[in-house]
């Protein structure tokens, strides 16, 4: 199993729209609105990192209202 966390900033006033878009993405298992530097964070979970990459590039980063994102990929210790 692979896990990734995507930190996002949205265009002003677009937080709810992006949040709603995240709710429609199958691999997004949890999402939060944040105070501070980033506006939203999503947890993406899949069988492998390829699926996570595809989800982020094709589904998340194309959401209308998204301004910027930073991805944290889970590692195994």
């Amino acid at each position: 199993m692979a896990v990734g966390f995507v930190l996002m900033t949205t265009l002003p006033g677009q937080e709810a729209a992006v949040l709603s878009g995240l709710d429609r993405i199958e691999l997004v298992t949890q999402r939060w609105m944040l105070f501070g530097e980033f506006d939203l964070m999503a947890r993406v979970q899949a069988d492998d990192e390829y699926d996570i990459t595809r989800c982020i590039v094709e589904d998340i980063r194309t959401l209308p209202g998204l301004k910027d994102s930073q991805t944290l990929i889970g590692a195994e210790l």
Binding site: F5, L19, W32, F35, M41, L72, I73, G74, A75, L77
Partner: protein, 78 residues
């Protein structure tokens, strides 16, 4: 109190020790090792903001091997 997230940078080779210390803490809901700029991500469920401040300053930031933290607070009910 909503969830809070803390990103950690650790001293080199301290990742696993810090991970295990955090994973054993009662207020830590989940901990993940990461590739990239930060080494660990923790989700915290604490009772109130004072408890969260205490946890961060007197517990997490005192763990040997922790070099830097960045805290993000989730918006309740969003």
């Amino acid at each position: 109190m909503p969830d809070a997230f803390v990103l950690f940078k650790t001293e080199p080779s301290h990742e696993q020790a810090v991970y295990l210390t955090l994973a054993g803490h009662a207020d830590v809901a989940e901990v993940h090792a990461l590739y990239g700029e930060f080494d660990l991500l923790v989700r915290i469920t604490s009772t109130d903001s004072k408890a969260l401040s205490d946890l961060l300053m007197n517990t997490f930031r005192q763990i040997e091997g922790v070099r830097e933290t960045r805290t993000m607070i989730a918006v309740e009910g969003a």
